[in-house]
Symmetry: C2
Subunit: 412 residues, 2 copies
Amino acid sequence: MSLKINCLIAQSGGPTTAINSSLAGVIHQALQSTNVDKIYGSLNGIQGVLKDDLIDLTETFHIDSNNLSTLINTPSMFLGSCRYKLSDPLVDDSDYRTIFQLFSNYNIKYFFYIGGNDSMDTVNKLSSFALKHNIDVRVIGIPKTIDNDLTCIDHTPGFGSAAKYIASSILEISHDAYIYDTKSVSIVEIMGRNAGWLTAASALARTGYSDAPHLIYLPEHPFSTASFVNDVREQLQKRNHVIIAVSEGIKDPAGKYISANSTGTDQFGHVMLSGTGKYLENLIKNTINCKVRSIELNVLQRCASHISSRTDLDEAYELGKKAFNLADQGETAKMATLTRTSNIPYTVTYGSTNVSNVANVEKCVPREWITVSGNDVTKELVDYIYPLIQGEVPLTYHNGIPAYLSVDHLFR
Amino acid sequence: MSLKINCLIAQSGGPTTAINSSLAGVIHQALQSTNVDKIYGSLNGIQGVLKDDLIDLTETFHIDSNNLSTLINTPSMFLGSCRYKLSDPLVDDSDYRTIFQLFSNYNIKYFFYIGGNDSMDTVNKLSSFALKHNIDVRVIGIPKTIDNDLTCIDHTPGFGSAAKYIASSILEISHDAYIYDTKSVSIVEIMGRNAGWLTAASALARTGYSDAPHLIYLPEHPFSTASFVNDVREQLQKRNHVIIAVSEGIKDPAGKYISANSTGTDQFGHVMLSGTGKYLENLIKNTINCKVRSIELNVLQRCASHISSRTDLDEAYELGKKAFNLADQGETAKMATLTRTSNIPYTVTYGSTNVSNVANVEKCVPREWITVSGNDVTKELVDYIYPLIQGEVPLTYHNGIPAYLSVDHLFR
C-alpha cells in the first residue's frame, strides 16, 4: 500500500487572468513532490467536492510540459467556479460531512482553494472543522481577485493584469477620442463594487503626451453628481476631449449606488450593478451640450489574457508553489501571501497568514491616496500599482487567435 | 528654384488601427522619391486644408526611423479626423477655391486622403474639380474602414485587425462565461450599422473546444425578436452557456433598427446607435429565466493596437506606398486597391480603381454567406476572413503600457 497522499485543487469566485497560473504553480510543486501520488481538480469549486465531480490532473500536466505553460497563459478558470457559501457547521454540518468523506475516499490530505475573500471563508470554515474534529487534511487558501481587496497581502494576483489591461485600453481609447476638433467626453466604467483599486489603475495610462484620464472617481469617496458636472465643465474649458475613469460602485453621500439600474443582489448580499457609465453619460448629455460616450470595459478587464502582466502571472505562480509548500510543511488554515520588500527595485517575499484574518474582510483604497477633491488619485497610489503591470507575456497564436488550453471538461 | 513638388496627406472618418500604417506607407515612399521636397499633413482631414492647419512631416519621419515604425503600430489617427462633406461645387465652390489656393500656396501637387466611402466622396469631388479646371493636382484615395464596406477592393485595411480583436475577445469572453454550472446567456454587441462583416468575424473565435459564438446576427438579415428568443431557448437546451454575437445595426423586418435608444443622426444621415445588446439582454431577462449579460465591444474594437493583425498593417502600408506611386505616375481620381489572387496560400496584388466607383457605395455581406436560418455565417465567409487576422505585431511597451507615437499636435 502506498504511503503517498493525494491533493485536490479548486477555484472559486470571479475569473482573473492569473488564477490558472496559481493552479499551475500548485501542480508544478505537487508533480515534483515525492509525497504526492495523484493531483485532483474539483470542477466548479467546492460544489465539485460536494457532487464528487473531480478530474485527475496528474496525467494532463507534466513538469515543463506545453500544457502547464499554456495553462499559465489561459484566462478565467480551468476548473470552473462557483459562488457557494458553506453554512455554519453548528447550524448544519451536512456539507462538511460530505466533503471530508470524499477527502477520505480519495485519500486527499491537502486541499487548495484559489479565490477571493468569500473563498477564504470556505478555507477558514473547512480548516476549522478539520482541526476541531482531528481530521488530518490541510486546507490552504491561495489569493486571487482583480479587485485587489484582500487584507494581509500587498496586492492580489489578477489585479496587475487587469490594471495593465485597463491602463492600456484607456490610452487606446484616448487616441480614439483625440481625433476630432470638437468637444467630447468619454466615460470609462471600470469594475469594483466597493474598492477602487482597478479604477485607480487608469492613472497609469498617463504618458508624456496624454494626461488622460482627466478625472478619476473611486467608490471610496462619496460621489456628488453636481460636483461631477462641475468637474467636467472645468475640464472642457481646458481641453477638447475629457476622458473619465469611473468605478461601477460609486455611491452618493448617503451611500447609495449611483448606478441607474441595479439589478438585484447575489448570494453573498452584494448588489449587482450595471449602467453607472450610462447613467453619467445621460447626465452629461442633459446638462452639457457636447458629444458623450460611455464605455464599459466589462468582463474583458478580467479575462483578456492577450495582455497580461508578466509580474502578475509570475507572482500568481509563486503563490501556488508557496501554498503547496505550506501544506507539505504541515500548515493548515493559512493563506499564501506576498509582501513587498522594496519598490525600486521591486521585490517581494512569499509567506503566509492565518486565513481567518482574510475571510470576508475587504481592503479599500486608503482615503489619503485619493486627492482632496475626490476626482483623482495621488502619486503614492500610482507608485504602488506601477510595478504590478510591468512585463509582457509572449503568447502563442493559433489561426490568428490566442492558443489557450481547452476547457471542454467544463461542458460535460 | 526647385522643381520639386510637395505632397499632402490627410485622414478622415472613423479610426482604425491600420490607418496610420497607410500614412507611414505614403511617407516612406515620399521620403524615397527624388521628386518630393516637403511632406505635409493636414490636421483633422479636409478641415485642416480649409483652415490652413498643416504640419510638416518631413523632419519628423525618416526612412527606417523609430518614429516611422512606431507610427505603423499607433492606433487611431495621427493627423486627426473630421466628418466634413464638401458641397456640390455647382451649388457652392467656395471650399474648392480655398483648398486649391492652399495647394498652390504650398506647391502641393499630390494630395492623399485616407478614409472610407464618405472620404472617397471628397477625393472624387476634389479630383473632378481639378480635372475640370485644369489644375495640376493629383488626388488619390487610400481605403480604410473597420467596417469592410468599400466596393472595388477585396477587403479594407483596418478590418483585419478589428476582426482579430473581436475573435480573440469572444474567445476570452467565452472562457469567462464557461466557469459556472448554471445557465447563462452572453450577448456581445459589435460595430456595424449596415454591414455585418465585423460581426461575422466573431465566427473565427471557434476553436477545437469552444464553438462560441453559438448564434450570430448580422444587419443584412431581418431580425425577428420572436425567432431570437426561440433560437436562445433552443441553444439553452443544448448547452449551459450561450454566447451570441450581434451587430449594433440589426433591423426588424420593416427595416427599423432594433436598438432601443437610437440617439439621432450624424452629418451624413447615419443613425447613431447604442444599446442593441442591452435591449436584447432585457428581452431575454423578460422571456427566459436565466443569467444574461450584454457586452459592448465599443471603440476598443477599432483602436486596440495591442492586438493588431500583421497582415492588416502590412497591407495598409503597401496601399499607402501604392497610392504614392499612382500619383507619381500621373494618376488622379483613383483609389488604391488590393485584389486577392489566392486564398491558400493567401496572396494579393495592388492596383487602383476610379474613385467614383467607390464613393458613397456600401458593400454588405452577400445573402448567400449568411445561413438560411439567419443566425450564423457560412464556411465561405469564415474562409474569406481567415487570412486577414493572421500574424501578430510585436509591440514595444513603456512603463507597462504600449509605447505609441505622441499625438500632442492634436491638442493645440
